[in-house]
Symmetry: C2
Subunit: 232 residues, 2 copies
DNA sequence: AGGAGTTAGAGAACCCGTTCACAAAATCGT
DNA sequence: ACGATTTTGTGAACGGGTTCTCTAACTCCT
């Protein structure tokens, strides 16, 4: 892991290929969004402080993050908005359009399919499938709901690498297996269940109830510290 | 911060009031879910290893987390499923029912309002509001969509402390301001925008596009490491 | 031209969280 | 009764990430 592969060779290339820390990767889309807004407003130059306030992080954090992608700002001036935006877009792969398949066309699947704003972030809903025959055939924005039986065929046809699971919990694991078997290597799972996947497949979990439970915990703390003399 | 306030006094009380690390808090709902499933299956005892595999973390991590809430397992045996479940439920405040308001009854708001599975986690959708007069009055499961003008009244009437923003980006900040003004102190924001709130108000951000962008980054890495001789 | 002010970039210090390793406490079998 | 085995709880080591601090480089004003 820490092996130093002839990095005297060339800094830029090494940087390009270097692993960017997860925490940084998670923030790059935020910076990208902020920079796009600045660009739309005609701003041509910005400081790390600008980006920081727009993204809700510290300016030091922004600079450290940007240093990972070897981006060149100019000292005393700041960053060129367009250049930095393009650099980040390139880094996180927004130069290409990623096709995703949504499995499950219930309320959540429909909401995701209808979501405006994937387009501007390099994401296209290429297919929506459901196991309910009653839903197959109905349209969802630009998409037509297809049978889950066609999952593998659709994934291959459209070269889909990313799948979204929007099924009830019980369906999540079988669906994940099907997605992986069809060639999907990244999964965004909205079902409140842990899905097991082979090595090399990434899974990200979004659980709304968990988010609310976390908020509830903090609410409870606020309440209890309020009536017995706040301990903070 | 590191001040030791007469902690010889009593360990349990001190523990109860002690700050539980954020990372732990985020995992407690997962443990709770796992334990509830075990309890439903009639399992009465479990090891940290059980919980760990069910929640997708390491057993050491589980033990460390549980140690923060002073939970008593028995060495050589494990944890009592019911007792541990109750202890966690109590810790994260699931003994009471938290009422939430959903602002924005578009696709996403509707999906959230229809979501089964809040109920079992101590969460109730007490109100759904939207600014579109055309939507006001229609029913969404057990709820009727009301005008956003009633936001403050509803929050107060139901003693709501948690708000969910499911509006387009432009509406997020004004809505957040209204929620805060009405007395809400925790916000779950689905709009892809940073919302500013006063101290004491918690905000959690859920951005589906960002999640997909993170996956896309990793996909890109997989692809590039595949064709130029994997560097990992 | 030179000084004052601004800002990126990088190294160091610090903090938080995870993993490791082990001792203490329980059960079970003999 | 006692040793073997299991499993918790915890202190220590480790690693990643954030913040701090300082230097270098650029602009603007005089």
């Amino acid at each position: 892991m820490n092996l130093l592969r002839n990095d005297a060779l060339e800094g830029a290339q090494a940087r390009r290929r270097a692993q960017i820390p997860d925490a940084t990767v998670a923030r790059l889309p935020l910076y990208l969004r902020a920079l796009s807004e600045l660009a739309d407003r005609g701003v041509t130059t910005c400081s790390s402080e600008h980006v920081a306030t727009a993204a809700g992080v510290s300016s030091a954090n922004v600079r450290k993050d940007l240093s990972h992608l070897g981006s060149y700002g100019t000292r005393g001036v700041g960053y060129d908005v367009h250049q930095l935006r393009d650099r980040i877009a390139e880094t996180i792969g927004q130069t290409q359009n990623w096709k995703v398949i949504i499995v499950g066309a219930g309320h959540l699947g429909s909401a995701l399919a209808a979501y405006q704003g994937f387009g501007t972030r390099g994401i296209t809903i290429a297919a929506v499938v459901d196991e309910d025959p009653a839903l197959v055939g109905s349209t969802l924005g630009p998409n037509t709901i297809e049978s889950v039986d066609n999952l593998a065929a659709l994934v291959k046809e459209h070269n889909i690498l990313i799948g979204i699971i929007a099924t009830p919990p019980a369906g999540a694991q079988p669906v994940a297996d099907q997605l992986v078997a069809a060639g999907v290597t990244s999964i965004l799972n909205f079902a409140p269940t842990l899905v097991h996947v082979p090595d090399g497949v990434d899974v990200r979990q979004v659980d709304v109830a968990v988010e609310l439970q976390i908020l509830a915990y903090h609410e409870q703390r606020k309440a209890s510290s309020a009536d017995s003399g706040g301990d903070e």
